[in-house]
């Protein structure tokens, strides 16, 4: 393996990459495209975050202070769309772009031109979506779930919303196809499937989920479009349709989407924890099977998002049992990570801190998820702040922490410089305290009876909303530390070694830091199982 790497270093000088704007606009390089994905995701994270700040400011105290209720609804709607489709998914694809070729011993992605296109669709799609704020009737305000008939009351923004979703979906599908093609065709000799790093495994499974579920969303929103403009009545009871049909179709996409977002994060922490525990990942095979079972089961639980629509008893029972069963493979993953830490020799650099943050706080989201899987009780929890608390625990300290942990983990590899460890730890601790102040009280609000998506509330909900808002402002501001750390690291710092971390194992750590422009021009020979950590 080391032979291949030294060979690689010689080739570094022969890169012919265009300079200036052309390097980025016409890029077919997995690293440059990965960087663009990550920068785009970071910008969208702050755009969506700014909307969250508006929401928390309005909810700081009872009464309507800052925004009109309609605009408030636009904020919750577009916040969700921007965060899910603009920040989380592109961040996952960006990390996959950067890391997968390096992890499997390939020079680049299998389809570099499509890679370019799948990225460059994103800024256009995001512009379509955000431009709706300046349109007659305002931005979409019917919730990110776009339930008819309410969404059909959207003004001029409506077709822009639909086409933005179409474009974002096309981009994701192309990204997924590329990842599958790359992993299936470009693995280095000896890199068998059961030697793949877990991050690669979680991304293959995610890519299949994307290909299976995004077209369903596209179909659902297209039916909305024809209902609005072409006189169809898919979702209109007066024309023989059914508004609940949309919810079934939407959540058939929407539940796998949850796993599309979370599985890459699981993959990242499966790389980080063994590295800093200096111990192989516990139960590699069972991790792969657990991930695959979670993905498979995710197609059979969609209706737990809509228990209150009034399904037949047998339907409710089926979806309750199916939902509860997902707890088993998810539990296996948590236990495996814990067993990986057990009797290890741990150090707690920033990536490890974020990974441990995922373990604890994703579990809290998992516990409340199990609670709402119990259908009769979900009739109380549904559409309250308890749900808001649940999915934000899963998404923020579950998924976003995984992505941020991955950024800290691989940043020295990408830039060749160590990041500022003190600032990284500061970022972790401020974020972790504030994210709990932000979301934990929302459990209480929901149980006490506060519905979600309301701009104003009774005095009985005032205290916890104020505490939650303070947590929100601190959490939002503390993410600027991340930006500062990244900028500082790109500009310079202590030089990173090739291995970067003492316990790091796998092909990506055999390349130089920063790696050559084309990762492995000569495939390395993988001979032992140490390819995956």
């Amino acid at each position: 393996m080391s032979e291949a790497v030294s060979h690689e270093d010689h080739h570094d000088d022969h890169d012919h990459k265009p300079t200036g704007i052309k390097r980025w606009l016409f890029s077919t390089n997995h690293k440059d495209i990965g960087t663009m994905y990550l920068v785009f995701a970071l910008i969208m994270f702050f755009v969506g975050g700014a909307m969250a700040m508006v929401i928390r400011a309005e909810l700081f105290q009872p009464g309507l202070q800052y925004v009109d209720p309609q605009f408030f609804n636009s904020m919750t709607t577009v916040h969700a769309l921007v965060m899910i489709f603009g920040a989380l998914m592109p961040a996952g694809v960006g990390l996959a772009n950067w890391m997968i070729p390096m992890m499997i011993g390939a020079p680049d992605m299998a389809m570099p031109r499509m890679n370019n296109m799948s990225f460059w669709i994103l800024p256009f799609a995001a512009t379509l979506l955000i431009a709706t704020f300046f349109m007659e009737g305002g931005a979409p305000a019917g919730g990110w779930t776009m339930y008819p008939p309410l969404v059909l009351q959207t003004g001029d923004a409506f077709p822009f919303l639909i086409f933005a979703v179409h474009f974002l979906g096309i981009s994701s599908i192309m990204g997924a196809i590329n990842i599958i093609a790359t992993v299936f065709n470009m693995r280095a000799p000896g890199m068998t499937f059961m030697k793949l790093p877990l991050f690669v495994w979680t991304w293959i499974i995610t890519a299949f989920l994307l290909i299976a579920s995004m077209p369903v969303l596209a179909g659902a929103v297209t039916m909305l479009l024809t209902d609005k403009f072409f006189g169809t009545a898919f979702f209109n009871a007066a024309g023989g349709g059914d508004p609940v049909l949309f919810q079934h179709v939407f959540w058939f996409f929407g539940h796998p989407e949850v796993y599309i977002l979370v599985l890459p994060s699981f993959g990242i922490i499966s790389q980080i924890i063994p590295t800093f525990a200096r111990k192989p990942l516990f139960g590699y095979e069972s991790m792969v099977y657990a991930t695959a079972s979670i993905a498979f089961l995710s197609f059979f639980v969609w209706a737990h998002h809509m228990f209150t629509v009034g399904m037949p008893l047998t339907g409710e029972l089926f979806f309750m049992y199916a939902t509860m069963s997902i707890a088993v493979p998810t539990g296996v993953k948590i236990f495996n990570w814990t067993a990986t830490m057990w009797k290890g020799s741990m150090t707690f650099e920033t990536p490890m801190l974020f990974a441990i943050g995922v373990l604890f706080m994703f579990s809290i989201g998992g516990f409340s998820g199990l609670m709402m899987g119990i259908t009769p009780v979900d009739f109380q929890y549904h559409d309250t702040y308890f749900i808001v608390a649940h999915f934000h625990y899963v998404i923020v300290p579950g998924i976003i922490y995984g992505v941020i942990g991955g950024v800290y983990f691989w940043l020295p590899k990408w830039t060749g410089n160590m990041y500022d460890e003190k600032l990284g730890k500061l970022h972790f601790w401020i974020s972790t305290i504030s994210v709990n102040v932000l979301f934990f009280p929302q459990h209480f609000l929901g149980l006490a009876g506060m519905p979600r998506r309301i701009p104003d509330y009774n005095i009985q909900f005032a205290e916890w909303n104020m505490i939650s808002s303070i947590g929100g402002f601190v959490f939002g501001l503390s993410q600027l530390i991340l930006v500062w750390v990244v900028i500082k690291c790109v500009r310079g710092g202590e030089k990173a070694t090739d291995q970067v971390w003492e316990g790091a194992q796998g092909l990506e750590w055999t390349l130089s830091s920063p790696p050559p422009f084309h990762s492995f021009t000569v495939p390395p020979q993988v001979t032992d199982a140490s390819a995956h950590s």
Binding site: F282, T338, I454
Partner: protein, 365 residues
């Protein structure tokens, strides 16, 4: 204004600080689900508590192991990494135990769910219809029917038209003009549906919420055991004023319920254009007639409210497709519509002098 906000801020900020130190915080402020006042709501509460305890115990166990490991298996304490990466026994154990826990949880959950779906043998049937943004209640056996919308006091506070602030009003956003009245110790079937978009009818004390879907009817039931006033809110995003369509349920004894029914049937229909406008129109077009352009146009000086009567009648009766403007023809009587339209054509300086009669409305239908 600024001083008032600052004062509110300081006062608001001091309350949580006090509360955090006060031992009574748990009792006074809702941190947990309500037990409710029906047999079902208590079963739901018990299920909630069982699973809360289960996940708490699992959490303490799993987090305990993690924390132990984090403190003891660290390099700075000289821990040397073991190299095991597999244990079939452990993996089987932590697959089987969760399955057993889940099955044990599923049994009572299934029993409760089956009970919740038994809607037969009801003595009273109440039909609840969601509108943007109010509720309509129809007592099917007794031919009683009325709308229920946010009370005037809350409405003027939220619009900033009142001297009062939300802190001054205990039931801010949780009070209505006409509460729904039900007898205790009676099985009541509650049908939910909607006229425009999807809403959800939720009174936490009953132990459930159910979507109100246009074109479909969901059936539910309840059996309230304690008299009292129970408050809830719409729980499905239904547009601009989703947060402003509360539910107030007044549970009374059977005798009081019979008396209330007689009172409702003998009550002369009150027809006051301004009041009807406040109930049905002001959420969008605002009580000052200025609307909220562009989504909700102004009526003051508008071409429709000051122009030909036929167009005005047409839009009120049939609504406007593709907008939030509903067809009020099916909702309101000729007399009520005549009063509203007369009010709209003479208020806010519109001064057309038109007097519309019920016959005019009937002719336009």
């Amino acid at each position: 204004m600024f001083v008032k906000k600052l004062r509110n801020f300081i006062r608001g900020a001091s309350i949580p600080a006090l509360l955090l130190w006060a031992g009574s915080a748990f009792a006074e402020y809702g941190l947990n689900l309500t037990r409710g006042v029906t047999p079902i709501s208590r079963e739901v509460y018990d299920l909630h508590m069982i699973i809360l305890y289960v996940v708490t115990v699992i959490g303490i166990a799993v987090f305990g192991v993690m924390i132990w490991s984090i403190f003891h298996h660290r390099k700075s304490k000289g821990a040397v990494a073991a190299q095991f990466h597999h244990s079939t026994a452990a993996e089987i154990t932590w697959t089987i135990i969760p399955i057993i826990i889940l099955v044990v949880l599923a049994i009572p959950a299934t029993k409760t769910l089956i009970k919740m779906e038994e809607t037969g043998d009801a003595e009273i049937t109440l039909k609840v219809t969601g509108y943007q943004w109010k509720w309509k209640y129809d007592y099917l056996e007794d031919d009683i029917s009325f709308f229920s919308s946010l009370d005037e006091r809350s409405n003027s506070i939220r619009k900033g038209e009142s001297e009062e602030s939300p802190e001054d009003y205990e039931n801010y956003l949780l009070e209505v003009d006409n509460p729904v009245v039900l007898p205790i110790n009676t099985k009541v079937r509650i049908l939910t549906t909607a006229a425009d978009v999807i809403h959800a009818w939720w009174v936490p004390a009953l132990g459930w919420k159910r979507d109100a879907i246009p074109g479909f009817i969901n059936d539910n039931w309840t059996y309230i055991e304690e008299p009292g006033i129970y408050r809830g809110q719409c729980a499905e995003l239904c547009g601009r004023d989703h947060g402003f369509m509360p539910i107030v349920l007044n549970a009374v004894t059977k005798e009081e319920y019979e008396a209330w029914k007689i009172e409702m049937k003998n009550k002369p229909a009150e027809i006051d254009g301004e009041k009807l406008y406040a109930t049905h129109c002001s959420a969008c077009h605002q009580s000052n007639g200025q609307g909220l352009p562009p989504a909700f146009p102004a009526l003051a000086g508008s071409p429709i409210a000051t122009g030909p009567l036929a167009e005005h009648l047409d839009i009120v009766l049939k609504g406007k497709a593709g907008t939030a403007m509903l067809a009020y023809g099916p909702q309101l009587s000729n007399e009520e519509l005549a009063a509203i339209i007369t009010y709209e054509r003479n208020a806010w300086g519109n001064d057309t002098g038109d007097e519309i009669t019920a016959d005019d409305v009937q002719a336009a239908r």
